[in-house]
């Protein structure tokens, strides 16, 4: 078992024939992911990378039985691409696209309530279950199969963490890059719950950032429901406070919205908060007794 994607996942690529879509489709295929085709409106019937191109996601789903879609379309088409995937019956939608307008995502979030699907991202590196499926833009070679579940808001910082873990001889069950936008489909808590239920995951690593309450929401849930050790690193203790214009954000942001407050709450909830980004791998090794 693993989370969200595995060797049986059948993946399509939206924005297949564009430069990003092409490059990363090739990388995913060479990693061993089952990519069964892609969608580029107007190019249906063509072959690309030896795979069929469809005009619509629903065509792709009915022809290939795809259950996972990874989205590389330009930002202005991002929201539409996500909703098209949901409507076509895709179960796991991974939106890599960066820069989708917030108001578009407000609409997407409402639309998705009517569908049984999970959105990862947008503006995320994707998901990887090592040695089974890579659905995203992360470098595959730094990963290896194992018991560490990784949930992260960032891209390269996740690679850094994974690399440290792998170099110490440990592997990952699944790594989920949830994305850094104001509205994302899967929160830290959602991803942590998936990992808690996953038999292959022994320990969970949460990579967070200052801002928002996602990590503390997850921590409070873990305090009452957690069954596995959780380690976390929160980036941005030295980052400047946002130069905000108004006060409205502070009213709803609340007092937990600083790095120190966040870390204190997480510690109270029994989470091992890592001080230095250089110590992520070592901390995981210590907690798992390696």
């Amino acid at each position: 078992m693993s989370v969200l994607v595995n060797k049986d996942s059948r993946v399509i690529v939206q924005g297949f024939t564009g430069s990003e879509g092409t490059f990363h489709a090739e990388q995913m295929i060479s990693y061993g992911t089952t990519v069964s085709g892609g969608v580029t409106p107007g190019k249906g019937g063509m072959k690309h990378l030896g795979l069929p191109v469809f005009n619509t996601v629903s065509d792709a789903v009915s022809e290939t039985d795809a259950d996972v879609s990874v989205i590389f379309v330009p930002p202005r088409f991002g929201a539409d691409a996500i909703m098209e995937a949901a409507e076509a019956g895709i179960k796991v939608i991974v939106a890599i696209t960066e820069g989708i307008p917030v108001s578009d995502m407000v609409r997407v979030r409402e639309y998705l309530k009517g569908y049984d699907c999970r959105l990862i991202g947008p503006n995320c590196p994707g998901i990887i279950t090592p040695e089974e499926a890579k659905v995203g833009i992360m470098p595959g070679f730094i990963h290896q199969k194992g018991g560490v579940g990784v949930v992260s808001r960032s891209g390269t910082l996740t690679y850094e963490a994974v690399d440290q873990i792998t170099k110490l001889g440990m592997g990952q069950s699944t790594c989920i890059g949830i994305g850094g936008d104001p509205i994302i489909g899967t929160t830290t808590l959602d991803a942590v719950k998936l990992m808690m239920d996953d038999q292959d995951t022994e320990i969970i690593v949460v990579i967070g950032e200052i801002g928002g309450s996602m990590e503390t929401d997850a921590a409070k849930w873990i305090k009452d429901n957690g069954t596995k050790p959780v380690a976390a690193f929160i980036a941005g203790k030295t980052a400047p406070k946002g130069r905000k214009m108004g006060h409205a954000g502070a009213i709803i942001g609340g007092k937990e919205d600083t790095a120190d407050a966040k870390i204190a709450i997480m510690r109270e909830c029994g989470i091992e908060v890592i001080e230095s980004p250089a110590e992520i791998g070592k901390t995981v090794a210590r907690l798992t007794g390696r």
């Binding site: 407000v106 409402e110 833009i137 470098p139 808001r153 030295t238 400047p240 502070a250 009213i251």
Partner: protein, 396 residues
Amino acid sequence: MNIHEYQGISILKAYDVDVAEAFVAETPDQAVMVAQELKEKYNTDLFVVKAQIHAGGRGKGGGVKVARSIDEVREAARQILGMTLVTPQTGPAGKVVRKVLVARNVFYKGEAPHKELYVSILLDRASGRYMFVYSPEGGMDIEEVAEKSPEKIFREEINPSTGLLPFQARRIAFNLGLEGKAFKEMQRCAAGLWDAFRGSDAQLLEINPLLKASDDRVMAIDCKMALDDSALFRHKDLSEMRDLNEEDPYEVEASEYNLNFIKLDGNVGCMVNGAGLAMATMDLIKLSGGEPANFLDVGGSANASTVEAGFRVILKDKAVKAVLINIFGGIVRCDRVARGVVEACRSAGDIDVPVIVRLQGTNAMEAKEIIDKSGLQVESAISFDEAAIKVREAIG
């Protein structure tokens, strides 16, 4: 993207929100012309002259002045234009005022008392919906109201498929304690604010105060507005409202090279790919005894020209005593980044501070060799720990 009060007010007017009439001026003479126009139109001698900068708390720093005659408008404009205004939101350096807004002062006497209200619209991340946050206690520090009397802060969540519904506009007007004509005006105002917010893809719209005047009109007499950068592609007119004078010159230069840069006050410059790793690198600099001099995310393509531009921007800051480059090469290969770094160091000329380059990921060893054999005064490192130690050594 933040915009000025006068720009926000022009947007509100376009969406039929009642505002205290006002025009922007760049010289005292222009300010006088505006005041004369307002005097003719409203037969008033009451004006407000307000500094236009991208920061709140202007009144506290002397950036807002009430004028009781055209001469007082000229005097107020003279004092405010060109001043360096320091407010709790500008930081100690303050901001130079280049424009003033001359507005009709709508705190005129009338049958009913006037009342200052607070209304804002913003995203509630938890629900993923936009939300009105409002209070009958406007005109003052709203954060203080939220702390001391949270029962006076109201919220109205907007369903994206319907927008603001009439019953919600009524509830807003009720909760603000309005009645009669003002109650009706407030509903129209709420609808207009919502349309303005949605129509311009705003991230934040804050009116403090929204004034219920003595004749029961409801008027925006202030406007803070921030627009979603990601949505500017569909608002060519609004994107022209960007005022580069309000932005840090280093950051403006960096954005020309597509670098995401924020200037800080430390002594160790850094250049990183990815925002999360950049923040983690800043944290590491701090743990090593230094202070980060900047945040700099060079993005996915860390090539010679972006690295060179990064060096130029970082080294303009004479407080920088060392530079740490931290690149995790995933899809980008480290050896290519290393060649870019070497090329950038050569073309940037004499870099007189220690440079530490840490390249990790694809072809990291080859990359280290390229740096070590380059003959440049550049230290290479592979692990994050090693980089931290070298930063500590460099700043002594």
